[in-house]
Symmetry: C2
Subunit: 382 residues, 2 copies
């Protein structure tokens, strides 16, 4: 086997994507980006985007190169997102890149922001730097699917975290659910909480399980917002969700006393919908996008899961399956009976992973994914 | 990387197991066995067991070597089952092996027959041949799990073939089930029919779906027995199961007229149980073992699936899962509500495979597997 130039690019980009994978729980609402500077098969510097307001991946990699006493002139930069060309909280990365005089820049995906996408590319090319786009595209998009969703369609990427038996039951009829899936699956689920901008549940789950909704047992770095859908403001002020982190309560109630009691506990109370109609979930996702949230982790009961499904706002299913049959027991998702099967499938499986004694199955809505991919794929790869 | 002698043995045994994998649908009630004769890194001959009454793997491999003009003296035989030492329908393979004067024989698993297990081994050693046991053990057992089950516990290995949505629904409430899982999954399921000694269903499925129960779209070689559990003898004589192959109807009815009508169609009618009590499924599995059946493929409705589960006679679950949520719809398996979860898990996942747009999940009862493994593992591997 001989390594082609394409293989080499794929391997170095893989390292850049690994670096981005290391900051999944840090950068939001900014994207997770990794950068590796390579010359003659040797790493001169590498880095990943830090907390919002901190340096971007390219600048981190340049600083790393400087710390190693390396001059990046004539090198290749592997960067998992198109370098930014506009002044945000930090100066444009593309200027720093051009100053470094690399020979090539290899980019996984374009900036999905329709106002600036492609401009970084154009600036690099205008400076005489060879640019290649699309190496590691799907992995880069998967790492930043929420950021891209917010940029492209103004709503976050939303997944349901489900757990149940091989026949889709999440609890016995008497409520016993501890534990159908095992400890490893529960811990694994916290990785998804940790990367999300918000963990969302319904007041029913707060009342019955009194969960903390924090990511635990993972290097979480920050606590995602906790969002409770609570039409009637029934969330008890002594619930454990208030123990740490920031709580948002989305309601359709105007009850002043309950509002005041929950506001006293530090909760942000948001009214979205009329008391008689309940919370409009489509409006909710638009509102969440407007709050700069990229990824929403829904961990709720069967009724709220079903409501999200019926509204068509679920982009992904993250399902932990235990190798058991439970028969007559509570469902993972409550949906009304259908009279016919849908003509086309709404989801496709994208991965399976053994987690302890259980399996994690991921499935994604192609109708959600395709427009995001189109927005960041830029030119066709040669 | 250097190849150790153990790696080499594993690789050649893998070839023997591949050969055995090629005769999965042929050999029953005999085991599937492959044999490769190797000297100085070169194959001298190879073969696999043929139809019952035909030559065993070792003899096929020796004939292949002879046809190639090779003398197996001083070679290593890789064979996935201990060579037989008794006169059955064919002379003992161990005699043919000793006559061939190999230096070594590497065996995946011992003969599970408690009367002869280990005797082939002893004969080979007495002839001065070096013997190693246990290379490729679990794969060899998986290929012959039904044969080993019948030898060790006198009952066949029984699996349920299930298919449904991610939330465990096999059909809509109006009966629509075409199709939740896709065409690839249906075809894949025929591989399991083809390897089984019998395909078993309930009369409810015969009445509602009128299935053929034959393996189609696979190199089936023979039609497994079709077994219908039919307490009241309600199977229509014009059902499609009678189109080809042999039909056994297991009943608790003594209705002479219905018996005669079905016997006229060539069915074998078997009474197992009292009319008032129905068919005893534990007695059924013992009876199936006594009929020399190794593997039973159950493809039935939710009620019969549930009955097999409750009797504890299910050794394996072969489940095809489609990436969809159906909510309020018919279950894959009907089981009564539990008040508590079992203290230990009855099944463990053993594999996952993408099949078209669906996933196949296999789960096995460790309590079924462990005694079979113990029966064939022989000496510990060094």
């Amino acid at each position: 086997m001989t390594m082609t130039a394409q293989d080499t690019d794929a391997l170095w980009m893989q390292r850049a994507l690994e670096l981005a994978g290391g900051v999944m729980n840090i950068t939001s609402p900014n994207p997770r980006v990794g950068c590796v500077i390579v010359r003659d098969g040797r790493v001169l510097g590498e880095g990943a985007t830090q907390r919002a307001g901190g340096p971007h991946a390219e600048v981190c990699a340049l600083r790393d190169a400087a710390a190693r006493g390396e001059d990046p002139a004539g090198s290749t930069f592997y960067v998992s997102l198109e370098p930014c060309s506009h002044h945000g909280r930090t100066p444009p990365c593309v200027d720093a890149l051009i100053d470094a005089r690399p020979a090539r820049v290899v980019i996984a995906m374009l900036d999905p922001n329709p106002l600036v996408g492609g401009q970084g590319l154009a600036r690099l090319r205008a400076a005489g730097i060879h640019v290649k786009v699309g190496v590691g595209l799907e992995t880069a998009l998967a790492q930043n699917v929420g950021f891209v969703a917010r940029m492209v369609r103004k709503t976050p990427w939303l997944w349901l975290k489900l757990a149940g038996s091989l026949d889709g039951r999440s609890a016995l009829h008497n409520g016993v659910s501890q534990w159908i899936t095992g400890a490893a699956a529960r811990e694994h689920g916290h990785r998804f909480r940790a990367r999300a901008c918000a963990v969302l549940t319904g007041v029913g789950t707060v009342l019955s399980d009194n969960p903390q909704l924090t990511p635990r047992g993972v290097d979480a770095q920050r606590i995602p917002y906790k969002i409770v859908l609570d039409t009637q403001l029934r969330t008890p002020p002594y619930a454990r969700i208030f123990d740490e982190g920031e709580v948002w309560i989305v309601t359709a109630s105007e009850n002043a006393e309950r509002t005041a009691r929950l506001a006293d506990r530090g909760a942000r109370i948001v009214r979205l919908g009329e008391a008689h109609a309940g919370i409009d979930l489509k409006a909710l996702t638009r509102w969440l996008g407007a709050q700069n949230l990229n990824e929403i982790h829904v961990e709720a009961g069967a009724t709220l899961n079903g409501a999200f499904m019926r509204e068509g706002v679920v982009d992904e299913l993250v399902t932990y399956i235990a190798p058991m049959l439970l028969g007559d027991a509570a469902p993972m998702v409550r949906l009304p009976a259908l009279d016919s099967l849908p003509a086309s499938r709404e989801f496709t499986f994208t991965g399976v992973e053994p987690v302890g004694e259980d399996l994690m199955l991921r499935a994604r809505r192609p109708a959600s994914w395709a427009p995001l991919l189109a927005a960041v794929q830029g030119e066709r790869q040669s």
